[in-house]
């Protein structure tokens, strides 16, 4: 039964081949073949996940005795369902969305190949297979984003994506070679087993091998998941077809979280790398969210939102919540894919209705509806603080007495709290005619978010990392010194509280900004609207390199 993993990956390759070969005979109808194959792949992926959920042990399949290994384990089966699921939706959506585009069947061939490559990537059981799939994703994405060959700008941005992905390929390549050199095998299970028995002895250039490899893998993950300084490709890649933007959330842009999870045994034995991963993720989450807020293009805004979410995902890895990152990437993949596929509809609706809310006076006098009110500030701020504290006390009472001492548990709760606080803030900004219902909904949603985060991530933990000792090792590798951890928790708590107080202050004492503050604000806005000048800097660097290349050619007489 473990050969199901070969079927899952092989079916899409076969579909790509048949779609290409049968196009002259079937015309545009050939796309239905591609959709059917993807539906079958999805069904098989669900079956594989069902097998794993029912206790089917981890299996390694040698692909036609070539030495290429495919893994059927919790991580690969879960990711396969996500990839096949989103790919199926994208396939069905593209049937009509791409109907008037040139290169219709080519698009489906590329979609099939991309799905197959992603499935191979998540189920790769050896370094070579992983490298091949990791590299091919960038190449296929380049051509998918450049589906419209007439569009020069689409290709320019597709190139940004490709070159960033190639930059990310190289650290993974070197990490793979170092692991191969040190352990004499390319098989991931064999390498991980050796690492767990004897992690220490290998050194490269005086550095512990595990630190170096973990650092390189983290770099590869950063490039794939658009972390700060390697993020510029993401918002601009939205100039590609909308289905491709949606597909990017099926294991392409979120592959960074997958990669870190796949190499969890390496990260467990590294020392400081996860702390750096946390810092990069945190920075990306903040910058991505800030840049998202000023966009006026819906797809670009979603692109920066993805950047922020990827920052969150990487940050979760950085604090040792590896399985939470997988839950995050699945949840984000589903909701962001939906948003992208709905973006066209939103644009269409905006053309008919500008969405500007009517003034209260108008609705009261003309439409004769009650004036909408805001939920009281104090109540919402109190809910933000009270719910997590209640859950914490409840957990201390019911789950275990040393709950406060478990950094991992606090981390999960804390993430739930931060997400919930955003929700409550969004609710506070709403106005409604029925305050009671809104308050109840807020409390209920907040509790669901905080509890959901904690419980679901715990369930993912049990599924992906059933060995409790290994789970503890992951959190231990990411452990901050208690003082820094406390400082961080207090800092973020203060930021949330400050946010509430300043909101209240602005509501009650609004007055126009002074000249100095206005200028400062405008400068900040200019800086953000130019995307911190990072794109401009990269453009300058690449132009300078091209200029150097041109001059060298001139000096050396083109020889």
């Amino acid at each position: 039964m473990e050969h199901i993993i070969i079927l899952i990956t092989g079916l899409q390759i076969l579909s790509a081949l048949l779609t290409h070969l049968l196009t002259p005979r079937l015309g545009r109808q050939v796309a239905r073949l591609s959709v059917t194959a993807t539906a079958l792949t999805f069904a098989l992926s669900v079956a594989a996940l069902w097998m794993v959920l029912n206790g089917h042990s981890r299996q390694t399949v040698n692909l036609f005795d070539s030495g290429m290994l495919l893994l059927l384990d919790p991580l690969s089966s879960l990711m396969a369902v996500l990839i096949a699921g989103i790919s199926l939706v994208v396939h069905v959506y593209s049937l009509r969305y791409m109907a008037e585009e040139t290169g219709y069947s080519r698009f489906f061939v590329l979609l099939d190949l991309m799905t197959a490559t992603l499935l191979v990537m998540v189920s790769a059981g050896d370094l070579l297979t992983l490298l091949i799939a990791w590299h091919l994703v960038g190449v296929l994405l380049y051509f998918l984003l450049g589906q419209n060959t007439r569009d020069v700008s689409a290709y320019r941005y597709a190139f940004w994506t490709k070159i960033t992905y190639r930059i990310g390929d190289l650290p993974l390549l070197i990490a793979a070679v170092l692991l191969y050199q040190a352990y004499g095998t390319g098989s991931l299970p064999a390498i991980f087993e050796q690492i767990s028995t004897e992690p220490g002895p290998h050194q490269v250039l005086g550095w512990p091998l595990m630190d170096l490899v973990a650092g390189l893998i983290a770099l590869a993950a950063f490039a794939r998941s658009a972390q700060f300084l390697l993020h510029t490709w993401l918002p601009y890649s939205m100039s590609g077809p909308t289905p491709v933007s949606a597909l990017m959330h099926a294991g392409i842009v979120n592959a960074g979280g997958f990669l870190i999870n796949r190499f969890a045994p390496v990260f467990v034995h590294s020392s400081e790398i996860l702390h750096w991963v946390f810092i990069v993720g945190l920075f990306t989450a903040v910058i991505g969210s800030v840049l998202m807020l000023i966009q006026n293009d819906i797809k670009k805004s979603l692109g920066y939102s993805t950047m922020g979410q990827m920052g969150f995902m990487i940050m979760e890895c950085g604090i040792g919540a590896f399985s939470l990152a997988i839950y995050h990437l699945i949840a984000h993949g589903l909701f962001k894919g939906t948003l992208f596929l709905g973006a066209g509809g939103v644009i269409n609706a905006a053309r008919k209705n500008d969405g500007v809310p009517k003034q209260d006076l108008y609705t009261f006098v003309i439409e004769r509806r009650p004036v909408r009110q805001r939920v009281p500030w104090l109540l919402m701020a109190a809910i933000t603080l009270a719910v997590p504290i209640t859950i914490l006390v409840f957990a201390h009472w019911v789950v275990s007495e040393d709950y406060f001492q478990k950094q991992s548990a606090i981390v999960l709760l804390f993430f739930g709290w931060m997400t919930g606080a955003q929700l409550i803030f969004a609710v506070y900004r709403m106005q409604t005619g029925n305050l009671h219902r809104l308050v109840m909904l807020s409390i209920f949603s907040f509790a669901i978010v905080v509890l959901g985060y904690t419980l679901i991530s715990h369930a993912f933990d049990l599924f992906l990392y059933p060995d409790p000792a290994f789970r503890d090792q992951i959190y231990a590798a990411a452990d901050f010194e208690l003082i820094w951890f406390d400082v961080l928790v207090i800092l973020v708590a203060l930021v949330i509280i400050f946010g509430w107080i300043s909101t209240s202050f602005n509501d009650q004492h609004y007055h126009p900004r002074g000249e100095y503050r206005r200028r400062l604000w405008l400068s900040f806005y200019a800086l953000i609207s130019r995307e911190l000048y990072i794109t401009d800097l990269y453009t300058r660097i690449s132009r300078a390199l091209l200029s150097v290349a041109g001059r060298l050619n001139l000096w050396l007489r083109w020889l």
């Binding site: 070539s66 030495g67 290429m68 040139t102 050896d126 070579l128 490298l131 091949i132 590299h135 091919l136 190449v139 380049y142 051509f143 450049g146 060959t149 007439r150 569009d151 020069v152 290709y155 320019r156 190139f159 490709k162 070159i163 190639r166 930059i167 190289l170 390549l173 070197i174 070679v177 170092l178 191969y180 050199q181 390319g186 490269v204 250039l205 390199l545 091209l546 150097v548 290349a549 041109g550 060298l552 050619n553 050396l556 007489r557 083109w558 020889l559």
Partner: protein, 253 residues
């Protein structure tokens, strides 16, 4: 002393800067497509045959020079617009990397195959370049563009050939580069980083070449695409390349 001279001679065929300029001069002067293909296929093989006449090991200073040559030509390829020159520079950059592999203990036959693996897609590109010259008068990027729309079969083959040259999986060049990086790590990890950077520059150069040729609206003049027979022949050659790449997986693992 004699060995040093022989090594310098080899540096002409497994190009080392500035001797590498000799190969690019000869390639640039060759007007016949057949001659260009022969040069691309056999030039490094001569170097490898000469190498067997030398008894002393490869001097240590040759690897940094080879890396410099590979990087220099990969960088310079970024600014090229003529397909023939581009293939010459990529050939120079790729063959120079063979010096890194030479420091290892690989059998001579494997080295010949590596050189052939680098050369074959370049020879295919020389053929395609001649096809462009026949159709447009010059094989030049940014001059006409839009080939994907005007001659789709030709463009597909061109894309696949360029992908083969820039060492994309599953073409043999990918596996050759992989072995080169493994050998480089054995020498020194920093050498592996340099090889990886050369690989990155190839990807950049390849993307620029493709974008200058296939992207954009089609030109006004009607151009004849490849016929089914020639397309099939190219497809067969590329399939053989992929097959040899897939075979390499078995060898590597």
């Amino acid at each position: 002393m004699i060995d040093t001279w022989v090594y310098l001679l080899i540096g002409l065929f497994l190009p080392l800067f500035p001797l590498s300029m000799g190969f690019n001069f000869v390639l640039g002067r060759s007007r016949s497509v057949l001659l260009r293909i022969l040069l691309l296929l056999f030039w490094p093989q001569i170097g490898l045959i000469l190498l067997q006449t030398v008894n002393s090991p490869v001097p240590g200073w040759m690897v940094p020079l080879a890396l410099f040559t590979a990087t220099l030509y990969a960088l310079r390829a970024l600014a090229l617009r003529e397909v023939g020159q581009w293939s010459g520079f990529l050939a120079t950059s790729a063959w120079a990397l063979l010096w890194v592999v030479l420091r290892g203990d690989l059998p001579v036959l494997q080295l010949h195959l590596f050189a052939l693996g680098f050369s074959t897609p370049l020879a295919l590109l020389a053929l395609l370049g001649a096809g462009l010259e026949r159709r447009f008068g010059a094989a030049y990027t940014g001059l006409y563009g839009g080939l994907a729309e005007s001659i789709p079969r030709f463009s597909t083959i061109l894309v696949l050939v360029v992908l083969a040259i820039i060492a994309t999986p599953l073409f043999p060049t990918f596996f050759i580069m992989l072995v080169t990086v493994v050998q480089a790590v054995t020498l020194m990890p920093l050498v592996a980083v340099s090889v990886a950077l050369v690989w990155l520059l190839w990807s950049w150069a390849g993307a620029r070449l493709l974008q200058g040729l296939i992207v954009g609206p089609a030109g006004v003049n009607k151009v004849i695409d490849l016929n089914r027979f020639i397309t099939g022949a190219y497809a067969l050659a590329l399939t053989l390349l992929v097959a040899s790449g897939v075979y390499s997986i078995g060898v590597l693992l």
